[in-house]
Point group: C2
Chain length 713, copies 2
């Protein structure tokens, strides 16, 4: 029955707008048609429903405390906002009279911990929902699932009868936020903590020091934040506020103090701990820089001991991250005293010297009762076995660590700043499919962390780079390994993304807001059409055409564009379906023609907007490219549907247009090119295809249209 | 030349989307085609331009201080964001090398004051812009004008050569924010202060106490905020932060402590100062309530003396607002001791008793060196002449006060919570056109304040109720009286509104964000089409169908709808133009047909969305209404363009449909009805019209279609 409604919706929306129709149809045929994300360990739906109306009430059974109650209060307020219903405040004593019963066994860990039990179960009967959890954090996880179960139809709001048992696959599920390359105020951190909790993430990895900024107040060494931050730093009160906010949501907060490299901002106030003489200034550019701590001087360890000791008091988590990445060694190589020190200690290279440094830091952390986390580079047999290796290198590096007895978390494949589509991250598993680790070794792979490096994000844009893709990574880290259907992930992600907005996140409103500013009008429909088929350039390609510093405005077209261009995937799905309908090519044909005609005809309106918006001058070629390739697509559809092959030189001319259109301009890429390439090739190959059974045509076209290796990214 | 670009824009946007076309065309033919708001006292443009590119630099001449410098820094960052250009930080010493020279004579008042000189002048030459101001606040006003002058075309960004002399018409230009009915956190206040500064407003009237909440920390009487606020109050640090933030923008902050009525929340902690025995609870409903301070007990004045004394230290402005409105007198009437007191003092009625109370409070304020502001009700000959009367009653009440020697400000006509269109507020002048006040009396009318009463706004919706309409009121209070062209105001308001968004205001993103939550999908195009032709019910009609309390979610369709429905005004303009093109009716005919056909056909998609979104059940009739009246409009156009009159009963049947559609549903009203009524009547009256010269037809139709008096609101 629920499927029926959705199919009707899909049909009507299809009439109204072509875009997105492929996704909606997917929904109509999906038998596990829920919007849970991450997918629980086990979920069974039964026919029937629990009605949600204004009589909704909550009871708490078993353990109860302030954290649990305020988590329930927040959930109920969100339910009110979504349904428009006003519920009674507070809790009822008689659990039989409650619509939602939260039954909790214990408070769990006083400080959120790697060893927290986050499991829960939900039983929905026609009378009530029973949420059962061994700990408050488990209940908090279950409340998010409860909110995701809400549906509506002509009868009103309801929850489908269901039985859910759930627990995370990995214990460490994090998001790194780099607040250094660009400053991110407390409110940005808080709303992203809310988003994290909504998708059951449990670690905020707070990257607090960098070449470009020292972002935490040190009372012992005040020149660190005073001289290293442009006044943009978290006070210790801010830090406590964030930690408390995270704890309320069952999220650990692990600070990272990157050393010995990535440390220029430390040296502005304390040049004496650097490996070359000062003075130093806050770094404004992005990249890997020379300034590195001097691992041979006792002053360095004295400062680190004092500073890390102060931070150990401030941050209650048992782990502390010391970075350790990307030390280029230049200052060490050029400093005769350091060279002498290495010789005297028998340290044969910079890796050995850094291992020495790490051992010293390890001892300091041990003294302050913290365990060390660091990037791949810190892996060295001299370090104790309780450290955690965070791997940007990949599963192999992680597995190697696990074999040597080290715990690890994966970040390779989860770099949000690479601007890859959600499906890419979704396919990355912390444990390789062909892993040969023992069960004990496998258990050392604790989970993973998405990384939001800060070169190209600021408070205005960061949400759009984290969300909704982070929800896909969260599912990878929480749900069973077998949950891998990208189409179904995208189906659910579209809804999850909208729901995340109720927490104050700005990713959904991002594109239009940026486009209004760019075009200085609210009439941005033509520009939105363009943005919906482009994506920012990937990996480290940004900043090459436009050298960027910490000061550069992030308000250009590339900043408005989304990582998953909204129209690209549905378009590609429709092309696939049409080509699979050989030799008639009727499925989606009319929709595709309408869409392509809109793209072709958008040029005039776009040219005008660009003409009065100099910030878009760099994008002046895009409307012509789009118009040209859309026209080519329309021609291809005409050939295909008439069964008549195009003339001799048509294919090469059109593919040349596509190649030109595929080149990045204004640091964005038109991402409908691969689907159009399939259309062009299908039309051009009609004579050859006709010699094959029609059922093989689509596959053959995909093979012919597949990019050569060098073309990928 | 600037006009040429805009005309081209208008044309292209017209092709792309019908909506808004009337406004854009207005722009094309306007000779004073700028986007300044408020319009300056004097502005002259010359041919030529000052180029704005990455070489942009600022110099400060004459007086300089931290407030001026940070105002310039903020302006330059906004300019960067709009243009995408990266400018050098800081200031240049050589003013000849600067693109913008800010020349300031003095710091002005240490505390923003009614007597601040806010004047400035701007001279734009091809080489640089010179901003001259006697005070820092004047320079801050001028910087906003400077930002509004920025334009762009194929050559890049530029400022047209111009000569501007500017100063405000009124000295007191305020916004009241009621943070009591619903709590508004500091960030809401701050972003609205930014918006106020952008349109040159200079008073934040902070309504801090009410029946529904006591929102400021009192250290002397902590039970006030502890028991009267649900924990939702401004700490004294918060208050200082807001005052400092406002001062940076040249804005005064005047707190209102409403008394003796509207005071339930005071009595939760201090029932002894009420006129009836407690206990009291925070009021959750809206309206006028009985609890009133006891003006006969010395304890009352002791508390007020202590509290107002504490607040006088906290708020540096020379004025303090004591409310004084809407005391229903019931508690006084029912309290024998109070009756006895009145008899003994010869106070003949409650008004006299309240005057006694006000005199006592006036003495307390005087002791703490504050001048009193209060609503009309406080006007009484026993009060000193330095008080300010804030009039919700109207210009006559204000003029009456002025004749008696009292200063006054107007709020009648500026109630944003009435949900009237911007044009309504724009037409209200603090001084009546037929005023017979002397120059001296006229000078006592200091200005006005828009009121954002908080019954139906919360942090999520408040921006959408304040903006962009407040900009129109700001213009009324700043610009010359003669600036009254509503069409031109709307032309500029559309751009100003988008630019306000760069300050973090959420009014432009409001509708789509709310609709996404309502429909639980990002595909809200059909719903947005509906919202663009409806407005929330006006004045106090809200909450009658759905009784509302402080706890009721504000997430329904009515909360998503805008005060100025976006499609209504352009539609009405197009209908006007078409009817004025009698007897051919060709102007806009095709656009109108397309628009009406879209409205007619939206029904299926809307029905589906409503079916799965129970929060929209209350709106289930709207798509049918819209479809019916759009069909009627299409029929009317067919009759008009063919010159053939409709059959006998057509007119009555269609007008009945319109009457039905005009009735509020889901607390919104379809506001395209009047324009459609004109179409229907024009078609029905074709035989009669044909007896008149075609140039008279449109006027005749307007007369016939004008609502009878009783129908207005």
């Amino acid at each position: 029955m629920r499927t029926g409604i959705i199919a009707f919706v899909a049909f009507a929306l299809l009439i109204f707008t072509v875009k997105g129709s492929a996704q909606e149809e997917r929904a109509a045929t999906d038998t596990t048609n829920h919007y849970l994300m991450p997918v629980p360990q086990s979920v069974r739906f039964q026919p029937g429903r629990l009605i949600i109306d204004s009589s909704f009430k909550v009871a708490v059974k078993g353990h109860s405390d302030a954290r649990l109650k305020s988590a329930i209060e927040r959930a109920v307020r969100r339910l009110e906002g979504r349904t428009g219903l006003e519920f009674a405040r507070g809790f009822v004593d008689d659990s039989n009279a409650a619509t939602l019963v939260v039954q909790c066994q214990s408070a769990g860990k006083a400080i959120p911990s790697l060893d927290e039990d986050e499991s829960y179960s939900i039983e929905v009967s026609p009378k009530q929902t029973l949420l059962n959890a061994p700990t408050v954090v488990g209940a908090i996880r279950g409340l998010e699932t409860f909110l995701q179960l809400i549906e509506g139809d002509r009868e009103g709001y309801f929850i489908p009868l269901a039985s859910i048992q759930d627990r995370p696959r990995f214990r460490w599920r994090g998001l790194l936020i780099d607040a250094c390359r660009h400053w991110e105020p407390v409110e940005v951190i808080k709303r992203n903590l809310d988003g994290m909790a909504a998708v059951k993430l449990n670690v905020l990895h707070w990257h607090l020091t960098e070449d470009q900024g020292f972002r935490v107040e040190s009372r012992r060494f005040p020149k660190l934040h005073q001289m290293g931050s442009d006044g943009l730093y978290y006070t210790q009160d801010d830090v406590r506020e964030v930690i408390a906010y995270a704890r309320e949501r069952g999220i650990r907060v692990i600070p990272e103090f990157d050393m010995p490299g990535h440390a220029t901002s430390w040296f502005v106030g304390y040049p004496e701990i650097a490996s070359a003489p000062g003075p130093y200034q806050i770094e404004r550019h992005f990249g890997i820089f020379d300034p590195t701590m001097d691992p041979t001087r006792e002053e360095t360890y004295k400062l680190l001991d004092g500073f890390l000791g102060e931070m150990a008091q401030l941050f209650p988590d048992e782990y502390m991250h010391i970075g350790g990445d990307e030390n280029n060694g230049k200052q060490w190589n050029q400093n005769p005293k350091i060279q002498e020190f290495m010789k005297s200690k028998g340290l044969k290279d910079n890796h050995a010297l850094q291992a020495y440094f790490n051992q010293r830091v390890s001892a300091i952390l041990k003294k302050h009762e913290k365990k060390m986390v660091g990037w791949d580079e810190i892996l060295h047999p001299d370090l104790p076995n309780d450290i955690v290796i965070q791997s940007w290198r990949g599963q192999a590096s992680l597995a190697e660590g696990a074999k040597k007895g080290y715990n690890g978390i994966l970040s390779f494949g989860y770099y949000l700043d690479y601007i890859f589509p959600a499906a890419y991250h979704y396919a990355v598993d912390p444990i390789a499919a062909d892993s040969n680790l023992t069960a004990q070794e496998t258990a050392r792979i604790l989970g993973g962390e998405a990384c939001m490096w800060g070169e190209y994000v600021n408070p205005e844009t960061i949400d759009s780079r984290i969300w909704p893709r982070l929800a896909a990574i969260a599912e990878r880290l929480w749900s069973p390994r077998s949950v891998t259907d990208a189409d179904d992930m995208y189906r659910r992600l579209a809804i999850v993304s909208v729901r995340l907005e109720e927490l104050g996140l700005k990713h959904e409103s991002h594109v239009d807001r940026m486009l209004r500013r760019i075009a200085q009008t609210h009439q941005v429909a033509p520009l939105r059409m363009l943005v919906d088929i482009v994506e920012p350039v990937k990996v480290y390609n940004r900043g090459q055409a436009h050298p960027t510093t910490q000061m550069t405005p992030l308000t250009r077209l590339v900043d408005a564009a989304r990582p998953d261009a909204r129209a690209a995937r549905p378009f590609s799905k429709m092309v696939d379906a049409m080509l699979s309908d050989a030799p008639r090519f009727e499925i989606h044909r009319d929709s595709l023609r309408r869409t392509l005609a809109e793209w072709r005809d958008a040029r005039l309106a776009l040219d005008v907007i660009i003409a009065r918006s100099p910030i878009l001058n760099e994008a002046a070629q895009l409307p012509k490219d789009l118009s040209d390739i859309a026209t080519a697509g329309l021609e291809a559809i005409s050939y295909l549907s008439s069964g008549i092959a195009p003339p001799q030189n048509w294919r090469d001319a059109k593919l040349a247009l596509l190649d030109e259109a595929a080149k990045p301009k204004a640091e964005v890429q038109i991402v409908i090119v691969p689907a159009l390439r399939q259309l062009i090739i299908a039309a051009a190959e009609l004579p050859a295809l006709k010699t094959m059974p029609p059922t093989d045509w689509a596959k053959r076209v995909r093979e012919l249209a597949a990019p050569k290796r060098a073309e990928v990214n």
